[in-house]
């Protein structure tokens, strides 16, 4: 890289900024963007997780097997559908709840800082704490949720039963709705007070103020949250690992990539895992994110033009 103009030091120090920038950019290329792009290469190989075994180019075999061959491919397609369901439900609920909480906390209420802190808290705790906390809370025998269920004469195995997938959705939303909420809140606080005064002078009620002032003015936050929720929920899978482990009939695509590439238990990587196959699976997931992300982006752009034209 050639040095540009900077006002510091003598002619000998011309290239200092470029030199000092090299370590950071090198790390980024080596660990970040390089491997990301190389996923597309590995998807066409039979790479394993073992050092020293030569890697062969096998064309579209991984994709063919992943999508079209035998029982495994039917399970994979089921996982793909499950990923879409997960994305749809999580995005809808998290977006709606995040907006509701933000609207409630945007009022002058005593204790609103405490509520905001509480709802945001799980975001910083990470999947291990989130997951173990809810495993305990959802203890099937005598746990708090089981006790609540008992009061209304219900019983459930929670994470051990057929509703496990639904409970992972609950925990996923619980853990991440705080981000959606604070982004909405930041957007609401940027709306000028005068707009509300003007609306009140015109006799607008609460709902009309929300409909005609808050919602259109919130466009950037709405867009950000919508995109973040769609992309985030398509890629989320770690709570599945902590909450229920690798159980047939519950995995999503992200978990599939991990399980094929690094093993189904959280144990050591000792045997030959199919990393080429896993790379192909992650390309499938990437294409899904790309298509849905783009669709969301276009939908959001159309809305933006309508409101901000």
């Amino acid at each position: 890289m050639i040095a540009g103009r900077h006002p510091f030091g003598s002619s000998a120090g011309r290239s200092l900024p470029a030199l000092l920038l090299v370590p950071g950019v090198f790390c980024y290329l080596l660990i970040g963007v390089g491997p990301s792009l190389a996923t597309a290469f590995y998807a066409f190989t039979d790479a394993t997780g073992i050092r020293g075994i030569p890697i062969r180019w096998i064309g579209f075999d991984n994709f063919d097997e992943f999508l079209f061959q035998g029982r495994a491919s039917r399970d994979n397609l089921a996982a793909l559908r499950r990923t879409l369901t997960f994305c749809l439900v999580v995005t809808t609920v998290q977006f709606g709840l995040g907006l509701l909480l933000a609207v409630l906390l945007n009022q002058r209420l005593a204790g609103r800082t405490i509520f905001r802190t509480l709802f945001f808290l799980p975001v910083i705790l990470g999947v291990v704490v989130q997951g173990l906390m809810w495993k305990l809370f959802l203890l099937p025998r005598g746990g708090p949720m089981a006790t609540l269920f008992g009061w209304i004469g219900q019983e459930s195995e929670f994470l051990g039963g057929p509703q496990a997938f639904m409970w992972v959705i609950v925990v996923q939303v619980w853990a991440n709705v705080g981000i959606t909420m604070v982004i909405f809140l930041a957007g609401m606080q940027a709306i000028p007070e005068e707009l509300y005064h003007a609306a009140q002078v015109d006799g607008a009620g609460r709902w009309q103020q929300f409909r005609n002032v808050t919602w259109p003015q919130l466009t950037p936050a709405v867009n950000t949250n919508f995109l973040l929720n769609v992309i985030g929920s398509l890629q989320a899978w770690q709570l599945f690992l902590v909450l229920i482990g690798y159980r047939p009939g519950t995995q999503v695509l992200g978990y599939l990539v991990y399980a094929e590439g690094f093993g189904r238990t959280s144990g050591a990587v000792t045997t030959a895992f199919r990393q080429g196959y896993a790379a192909a699976a992650s390309i499938v997931l990437f294409l899904l994110v790309l298509v849905l992300g783009m669709t969301a982006h276009v939908a959001v752009g159309r809305r933006e033009r309508r409101y901000l034209a």
């Binding site: 900077h6 920038l21 370590p23 980024y28 790479a47 770690q238």
Partner: protein, 282 residues
């Protein structure tokens, strides 16, 4: 048929009504957040037989035995030390390198600054690097080692973008006047610029550190030696071995949470400003 619009607001109730409803909804949600935490704390204060008899009730004889038990049972001090090493070393290295990358990009002091920034933005949309990253670490001989694990955390495109955007808000005239006064490039960055961009540096530091502290997947993939585990990985192994000993596990989970909780209480506004930056302006 179109119904006439009715103003539902009753005078006098206009203020109290919606507020009361707001509190009801907020408190209902708060219960879902306080509940699991209380259950965790309650469980950690019980003896195992007490827990089996009544998991949900209050601890009859609260004691801190489980904390000492978890601390000694699972090599907890070793895991905690590892977590601290990974978090502190990788975060400091990353932040220093990131400032040295972000400043010249924000100021266009190197050619190709725009393209370089685009390269960081693009990363947000690329497929996960999981598989090739593993192959790379394996072939570098860094698998199952501390340096290899730290290397994985020297990258954070979002953090870099936050820094670039913040540095752009510092006036360029400052660079020129400092240079006229004979201030060198490095001295300018560390003693003039750094204090001015402290909020952004704090945000990036905290977000990056939290990410490393909470990481489970990379620790599972790259570390097979018990001596190298961070607490997250240690806890999952602990769960596998002592899975039914919830009191000890709950105590261990609380110990994992504690540092992040303290960090959060003091630095909440930096964390939230980092996550919401850009969301408002679009």
């Amino acid at each position: 048929m179109k119904l006439p619009r009715v103003n539902l607001r009753v005078p006098g109730l206009g203020r109290a009504g919606p507020k009361a409803a707001s509190y009801v909804i907020l408190l209902a949600f708060a219960a879902l957040y306080v509940g699991p935490i209380l259950m965790l704390v309650g469980t950690s204060l019980k003896q195992l037989p007490e827990f089996f008899k009544d998991p949900t009730g209050l601890p009859p004889n609260p004691s801190f035995d489980n904390f000492t038990k978890a601390w000694s049972l699972a090599n907890f001090p070793g895991y905690a030390l590892n977590s601290v090493i990974y978090t502190v070393v990788a975060t400091s290295l990353f932040v220093v390198m990131a400032v040295l990358v972000a400043f010249p990009i924000a100021r266009r002091y190197v050619r190709g600054s725009g393209a370089l920034l685009a390269l960081y933005v693009v990363a947000l949309f690329l497929p996960p690097a999981l598989i090739p990253q593993f192959q790379l670490i394996l072939s570098l001989g860094l698998y199952n080692s501390r340096p290899g694990y730290i290397l994985l955390f020297l990258v954070n495109p979002i953090g870099l973008i936050i820094l670039v955007n913040y540095i752009k808000s510092v006036p360029v005239e400052l660079d020129q006047s400092a240079a006229v006064d004979g201030c060198g490039y490095l001295r300018f960055i560390f003693s003039v610029l750094l204090p001015l961009i402290r909020p952004a540096v704090a945000t990036v530091t905290v977000l990056h550190a939290i990410g490393i502290w909470n990481e489970l997947i990379l620790a599972t993939i790259y570390l097979t030696n018990d001596d190298l585990y961070p607490i997250t990985r240690g806890l999952i192994v602990f769960e596998g071995v002592y899975g039914s000993d919830w009191p000890a596990l709950a105590a261990a989970v609380l110990m994992l949470m504690l540092p992040m909780l303290v960090l959060f209480v003091f630095l909440q506004r930096y964390i939230i400003s980092g996550l919401t930056s850009g969301a408002v302006k679009g």
